[in-house]
């Protein structure tokens, strides 16, 4: 067991970092909160209230570590229905009631609720929510407000709106539509521009800053009115005094009606599913590899929702996009969530009048983009690659959700999945007979190895996955686990996907998670497609190499290297580098290796963020295996950003007598003494006289890369040369 840490001291040590990342998150939360509230037909401030209450309550009572709570994307659809059918005051009452229900879910330890839904159905539901958001806001983004009964109609009318937008003659509308289009472009291309300074401010905040700047430019420089039509500006951002003065009390008069309770149930269902999925996804990103207490978090979210409902705010859920940003900016504990709420309060107190200068289309562009991310063609492609039957489930859920509603949608998805499973197995009895049986055996093998062995019988699908999950969750992630499906005649996609997630989790935390016993299923032709597809199978060798690949092949010949263009998934040795702490490595390819693999250059594909906030990045990196151990450190060029980081508590290690090196380079590491001793004159001269690279050591190997993009062949040569010489210098120390 680890010794007891000095908690308070540690907390204050990381506090500046957390406040910093809370600040960055609040920059996104502000425009998103406004937008999400408006998309649900609530007053814009309602979203901010939810974020503030959520941030404060969940950071105090919650059980997760680096999540951010606030108004959620998924809820837009249900809240919209609730507000239009019940009216705003009664909708607040519904929100309060759903908060109580969510709390109850927490108390009854129903954190496993999300496990009862097949993953393709959840994907379908999320895609439908994405389309609801996209369909409705797209028209406002192009300054073309319309009101339709059916959510599908909004989607069908998108081409007409496009056509109208091209033929606008009103200057106010043209400018409004332009604001929307430019904002959408910012959202789309922001992730592609990997510039540190640009990335310091998140894309939604750029939109806010630019549009406020634009408005001031017209007012102060040109002395004209804002050219964007008045009806397309945000209206009704109250000042803080007004917010306090007219808090709307929830109206509980409709408590007896069926529509009220169906809204409550829908809100509760979506809020808890969204939160649970987000918590699960964020746990994978947590740099300190902690496990969240989902039930405690549900209780806190419920409490926050009750509070938010009484204060005139929306539901509070755990949100993935903001949490990802939080992790990426160095958050380590819940204080960042608290800081994000505090900054939001400050924004509202100080800048509430400035916020009315934001054009509505710009704000809606942010939502259109999030909606698109939820329902992007990539999602469909991924599901199709798993199996055709998954696509059926996906589309059944999607259409029923759009046509009837979220609850019907998700249950249609569940029903479709069950039917498909029955058809695939040609047996109802397999499920009927075994669904209630305890089908999972887990024990710690009593010999020296202390492996955990898990055997699953009968069938394993979303219906009884929770039994398997219960057992697996009782295993510390740094142990070895073997899951044996050989006695199991059917394993569905939901389970396979979760097994994959466990594999990733265990790999990251130093354990092993092996799934065995599925080989027999392969030969069984009746077996679902999904099953084989999801097993990590090496990609089919691609014969047609690209030009870059052929030049790499030539380079390999010239330099006497080994070239391998295939995708390699076995990259566990990279995950111990700090750089990949909050990133998920997918695979490496185009590998050039030198002399018994001590030097390896490869292209790598990794992702940042999870779920809809996921960004895939490809880069070229050099990995050097060292013969001896060296201290762990990270070295990068020193810039403006690093000075900002320094304020936030990231400490640069100064090297004595080398002020030039210290000024130009930014050196990080835990063991300051060892690093100072390691960086001798030779090494420092080497770094000073060579091009800048990001160099990172994990104790026994080095990771070196230039930019976060693929390198050209020339750059590869440079990188290779740098690495070879660096290795020589280090081996002489």
């Amino acid at each position: 067991m680890s010794p007891k840490k000095n908690n308070i001291k540690d907390f204050f040590k990381v506090l500046p970092k957390n406040i910093f990342s809370g600040f960055v998150v609040s920059l996104i939360a502000l425009p998103l909160g406004l937008g999400l509230a408006m998309a649900s037909d609530a007053p814009p401030i309602a979203g901010i209230i939810a974020a503030i209450v959520g941030g404060i309550v969940v950071s105090i009572f919650g059980g997760s570590h680096v999540t951010i709570a606030g108004p959620g994307n998924g809820l837009v659809g249900v809240l919209l229905v609730a507000i239009t059918s019940l009216g705003l005051e009664s909708a607040y009452a519904a929100i309060v009631c759903s908060g109580v229900l969510i709390m109850l879910l927490g108390f009854f330890r129903m954190g496993k609720l999300a496990d009862f839904f097949p993953s393709s159905a959840i994907q379908g539901m999320l895609a439908a929510i994405g389309l609801i958001i996209l369909g409705k806001q797209f028209h406002i983004m192009l300054a073309h407000k319309i009101k339709r009964e059916d959510t599908l109609d909004y989607l069908i009318e998108i081409p007409f709106t496009l056509n109208d937008a091209i033929h606008y003659e009103n200057k106010g509308l043209i400018f409004a539509a332009l604001a929307g289009i430019i904002s959408l472009a910012i959202m789309m291309f922001y992730a592609k521009l990997r510039n540190k300074y640009l990335q310091l401010i998140p894309a939604p905040m750029w939109i806010v800053i630019l549009s406020i700047g634009f408005s001031y430019y017209f007012e102060l420089v040109l002395h004209e009115n804002n050219p964007i039509s008045n009806q397309y500006m945000i209206s009704g951002i109250p000042s803080i005094q007004e917010i306090i003065a007219d808090i709307q009390m929830p109206l509980f008069s409709k408590v007896g009606t069926i529509s009220f309770w169906s809204s409550v149930v829908a809100i509760t269902l979506i809020a808890s599913i969204e939160s649970l999925l987000s918590i699960k996804a964020v746990d994978k990103l947590d740099p300190e590899k902690r496990r969240s207490n989902v039930n405690k978090d549900l209780k806190a979210l419920g409490l926050a929702t009750v509070g938010s409902g009484f204060l005139g705010g929306l539901n509070v859920v755990t949100v993935i996009a903001r949490s990802s940003v939080n992790v990426n900016n160095g958050a380590t504990n819940r204080s960042s969530n608290f800081a994000h709420a505090t900054f939001l309060v400050l924004f509202i107190v100080l800048f509430s009048t400035q916020l009315t200068r934001i054009p509505l289309p710009a704000l809606m562009a942010i939502l259109v983009y999030t909606g698109y991310k939820l329902a992007s063609p990539n999602v469909i492609r991924k599901i199709f690659s798993i199996g055709k039957e998954q696509l059926i489930i996906f589309f059944v859920t999607l259409f029923v959700t759009l046509k009837i509603g979220l609850i019907s949608g998700i249950f249609a998805g569940v029903l479709a999945t069950m039917l498909i499973h029955i058809i695939i197995n040609k047996s109802v009895l397999l499920f009927l007979r075994n669904v209630l049986k305890p089908n999972v055996l887990m024990y710690e093998e009593a010999d020296d190895e202390h492996n955990f062995y898990v055997s699953v019988k009968h069938f394993c699908s979303f219906l009884n996955y929770y039994k398997l999950k219960d057992k697996l969750d009782a295993i510390p992630e740094d142990h070895d686990v073997i899951v044996d499906f050989s006695l199991c005649s059917f394993v569905d996609h939901t389970v396979m996907e979760n097994m994959h997630n466990y594999q990733e989790l265990f790999k990251k935390r130093g354990g092993h998670f092996d799934v065995i016993g599925l080989d027999m299923h392969d030969t069984d032709s009746e077996h679902p497609f999904a099953l084989r597809r999801l097993l990590p199978v090496p990609n089919i060798i691609k014969n047609n190499l690209t030009r870059r690949q052929t030049s790499m092949e030539e380079l390999a010949k010239d330099y006497d290297l080994k070239y391998n263009s295939e995708n390699q998934k076995e990259v566990g040795y990279l995950s111990s580098f700090l750089f990949f702490n909050t990133k998920e490595i997918d695979h490496i390819y185009n590998q050039l290796s030198y002399k018994n693999d001590s030097l390896n250059i490869f292209d790598i594909e990794f992702s940042e963020g999870e779920f809809i906030a996921k960004e895939v990045i490809r880069s070229t990196m050099l990995h050097i295996k060292l013969e001896k151990g060296i201290p762990e450190f990270t070295l990068d060029r020193e810039g403006f950003l690093e000075r900002v980081y320094a304020f936030a508590g990231f400490k640069d290690i100064p090297i004595q007598d080398h002020s030039d090196f210290s000024r130009r380079f930014y050196l990080l590491g835990d063991n300051e003494e060892a690093i100072k001793a390691f960086f001798n004159d030779d090494l420092i001269h080497f770094f000073e006289s060579n091009p800048y690279y990001h160099v990172e050591s994990n104790g026994n190997s080095l990771l070196i890369f230039g930019k976060e993009r693929l390198a050209s062949v020339k750059e590869i040569k440079g990188l290779f040369d740098f690495g070879k010489r660096l290795k020589d210098v280090i081996s002489n120390i």
């Binding site: 496990r291 989902v294 405690k296 305890p438 024990y443 969750d473 009782a474 044996d484 006695l487």
Partner: protein, 282 residues
């Protein structure tokens, strides 16, 4: 403890395709234990039937198999149970049914009723065979129960008689005993410490039982104890199946009520799905 637990063995002899294999297994066991074999036939007595049975058992004649055919007309369940009472049977052998198409065995409705009501020990055979299949691995339960000590002793006796290589004692520990619910890292660590403690306690309990068994029964056999956290009565069956045990030895359940059958537990899990040959000891 009596070192010869089975003085008399009985088998239901219905004229089915499995009869020969069933009789062979029963006869072999009777010879192993030196006990008397009773063939119970539900129906009227006839010379033809006795003759057929005798022909089947002819090969065992040279080993001096002591057997008796008992005829009893009536309801099969009642008939067999009444004979076991009258003749003071110690062990009743029943055959299992194989579910079509699957490699799964379960106990048919008659055999199941008998198992529930029998006052003697019951052996359920999944694959009776004419040739002897050696019994290598015996799994026995190590529940915290007054009957357990007797059961484990009997298992070692059987192990000795059947020349088994290995005995695994499975201690099923109810999940409820680990009072901590795993929510996060902290509770997980506490739960694991608790489990570790329970395991040590269970292992020492089993060790004590084994120490009380005469050495001649324990010396030539590999002994392993395996604690399992999971559903009682279920985990052991699943374990026996994956560890390819040849015989599973269990305590007889203490009481059976209507509710026990509605919410299956303990022995009922095993009866719906026989993992291997099962011996239920009274």
């Amino acid at each position: 403890m009596s070192l010869q637990p089975f003085k008399s063995i009985a088998i239901g002899a219905a004229f089915s395709p499995n009869l020969k294999a069933n009789l062979y297994e029963a006869a072999r066991l009777s010879l192993f234990f030196g006990s008397k074999l009773f063939l119970i036939h539900v129906g009227e007595a006839s010379d033809d039937k006795i003759k057929t049975l005798k022909v089947f058992l002819n090969p065992f004649k040279k080993d001096n198999l002591d057997f008796e055919v008992v005829f009893k007309p009536g309801d099969p369940v009642e008939a067999i149970l009444s004979v076991t009472d009258e003749k003071n049977i110690d062990l009743l052998i029943l055959g299992a049914v194989q579910r079509e198409r699957f490699i799964k065995y379960y106990v048919g409705s008659i055999a199941r009723k008998i198992t529930r009501k029998a006052k003697c020990s019951v052996l359920l055979l999944i694959k009776p065979s004419v040739e002897r299949v050696a019994c290598q691995h015996i799994v026995v339960n190590g529940l915290q129960d007054p009957k357990t000590e007797q059961t484990i002793k009997a298992a070692f006796y059987l192990g000795k008689q059947l020349e088994a290589d290995k005995i695994t004692i499975v201690e099923e520990i109810k999940q409820e005993q680990v009072a901590i619910k795993v929510d996060d890292d902290k509770s997980l660590r506490r739960a694991n410490i608790m489990k570790e403690r329970i395991k040590l306690r269970e292992n020492s309990r089993i060790k004590e039982i084994i120490e009380h068994i005469p050495e001649k029964y324990t010396k030539d056999i590999a002994i392993k104890s395996q604690p399992i956290f999971g559903k009682q009565g279920y985990s052991i069956g699943h374990y026996a199946q994956i560890s390819r045990a040849d015989l599973l030895v269990m305590n007889a359940p203490s009481k059976m009520t209507f509710w026990d059958r509605l919410f299956p537990h303990d022995i009922e899990h095993i009866l719906t799905e026989l993992p291997t040959d099962v011996l239920i000891l009274q």
